[in-house]
């Protein structure tokens, strides 16, 4: 496919690898905060190719993984009500709640629909006037505009059987929280390209000013990832810290103005608990009160029991880059994609799932 294949050329990857190896005088620690990039780094063997050259650690870049347990429990509870259908992305279905996941709830008669887009959930509600359709909205700034559009569409269609359980999260506040933590070891960030497509990278100027860490807007193909790493390493070697856009074919400095305008109309920023991280100040979006008629948490009374997190799962340490997935004693043992103990092993964007799928190719598992 155009704009994909060109960024996978082996000869370009080789040159960039060579440049990075020549530039790096010590193993700088770089973090990406995007599950798509985590998987790209593992899938293309970039982490193995740069072993001992740079240290690539993974941040909380998987939105499904950081969705609060309480929200999952509520979605499950709603799915079990006879008149309610819960719709969400396929990734969400196998993420463990306190006692079960949405897929198990469905197997026992709960109503769960997988959708590709929030707009499909609106269409489903339109076609099923006799059901209350709840869209379980998760995702970073990349996905938030699609949910906001769904609110606008449902409003224009005058739907009274559509509501949302909004659990959208914002990346930059989580990055700030990680950098502020006492044991922070991140020396440079690869900023998530698709989040920046929507949110832009102007807002990183203050971040860079304050924390003196390079932030490189980075894409997803191997050449994109290597260009981001190379720029970051070059800055660190020069002792500089700047925001640089290495994903210029998709990202503009101010982001996507239309998307930001729709989001501004629909959401307000709120503090949000992130699974594994705790409450991230300003770390989420919630519906503005003028859209309260679409807020599932207002529409339905919650009966959920107290949330209960799996004690053995170290997803908190994985999501903050403190350990690699392979350092967890349950990795590949009691915890596999088929029977996950925690969300990062389930999701297509989770770091544990990436290591489980690709690490044997890289030899990383043997190092465990």
């Amino acid at each position: 496919m155009k704009y994909v294949d060109e960024y996978r050329r082996p000869e370009h990857c080789q040159r960039l690898l060579q440049e990075i190896r020549q530039t790096a005088t010590r193993p700088w620690t770089l973090m990406e905060v995007c599950g798509g990039q985590t998987h790209g780094l593992l899938r293309y063997g970039i982490d193995a190719a740069l072993e001992n050259v740079v240290r690539l650690i993974h941040g909380p870049g998987c939105p499904v993984c950081v969705t609060p347990l309480e929200s999952i429990d509520l979605a499950i509870e709603l799915a079990r009500r006879p008149a309610v259908t819960v719709s969400s992305f396929g990734d969400m279905l196998r993420v463990p709640g306190s006692r079960e996941n949405l897929l198990q709830a469905r197997a026992e008669g709960g109503n769960v629909e997988i959708v590709y887009s929030p707009l499909d959930a609106v269409r489903y509600a339109e076609e099923h006037a006799d059901r209350q359709v709840v869209f379980f909205a998760v995702g970073f700034e990349t996905t938030a505009p699609a949910t906001a559009l769904a609110v606008h569409q449902a409003s224009k269609l005058g739907l009274t059987n559509f509501s949302l359980l909004v659990s959208h999260v914002r990346v930059q506040p989580a990055m700030e929280m990680l950098v502020e933590s006492e044991d922070n070891c991140v020396q440079g960030f690869l900023a998530a390209g698709h989040v920046c497509t929507v949110a832009g990278y102007d807002s990183y100027e203050r971040f860079v000013e304050k924390y003196k860490l390079p932030v490189i807007v980075t894409g997803f193909e191997p050449v994109d990832l290597l260009m981001g790493i190379q720029e970051c390493v070059q800055q660190l070697e020069r002792g500089e810290a700047e925001v640089v856009n290495c994903y210029s074919r998709s990202v503009l400095a101010p982001g996507n103005k239309q998307a930001l305008a729709i989001m501004e109309d629909v959401y307000e920023v709120c503090d949000r608990p992130w699974r594994g991280l705790g409450v991230v100040p300003n770390g989420g979006f919630r519906l503005r009160s003028k859209w309260a008629q679409f807020d599932a948490e207002r529409r339905f009374k919650r009966h959920a029991l107290p949330a209960h997190e799996c004690a053995e799962c170290r997803s908190g340490d994985v999501l903050t880059g403190r350990i690699r997935p392979t350092e967890c004693r349950e990795f590949g043992m009691r915890c596999t994609p088929n029977s996950p103990l925690g969300a990062p092993m389930v999701s297509a964007e989770g770091a544990c799932a990436a290591y489980y799928r690709y690490a044997p190719l890289n030899g990383a598992v043997q190092a465990n």
Binding site: M1, K2, Y3, V4, E6, R8, R9, P10, E11, H12, C13, Q14, R15, L16, L17, Q18, E19, G36, R43, Y44, G45, I46, A48, A49, F89, Y116, S117, P118, L119, D120, G139, T142, T143, P145, A146, L149, Q153, K156, H194, T197, V198, F220, P222, V223, L226, M227, S248, R249, S250, V251, L252, N256, Q258, A259, I262, A348, L361
Partner: protein, 91 residues
């Protein structure tokens, strides 16, 4: 992008052979034949062909600049390039 469709600003986009309706509300400037980045059913950006060409030209120049490429290591400690699996939401 192949065509425009009502009622909400929408269009048909081809993803390597698969056609799907996507919202164009956030990329009103998109024209037929453009490449758009689609996420969760909505286009979130129009791919900038000039910027893409600039980057590729820089990479090509990088190739010309050095003849001592260690191509023999490709497949050993090099980067694996695998077939595209399910990245249709990325582009």
């Amino acid at each position: 992008l192949l065509a425009f469709e009502p009622p909400f600003t929408a269009g048909v986009v081809e993803f390597a052979g698969v056609h799907r309706q996507v919202s164009l509300a956030c990329v009103p400037e998109a024209k037929k034949g453009d490449y758009v980045l689609v996420h969760a059913g909505i286009a979130i950006s129009r791919i900038d062909a000039d910027e893409a060409a600039k980057v590729l030209a820089t990479l090509d120049a990088l190739d010309l600049g050095d003849d001592d490429s260690d191509e023999s290591t490709f497949g050993g400690d090099g980067v694996r390039v695998q077939s595209n699996v399910g990245s249709s939401t990325q582009i």
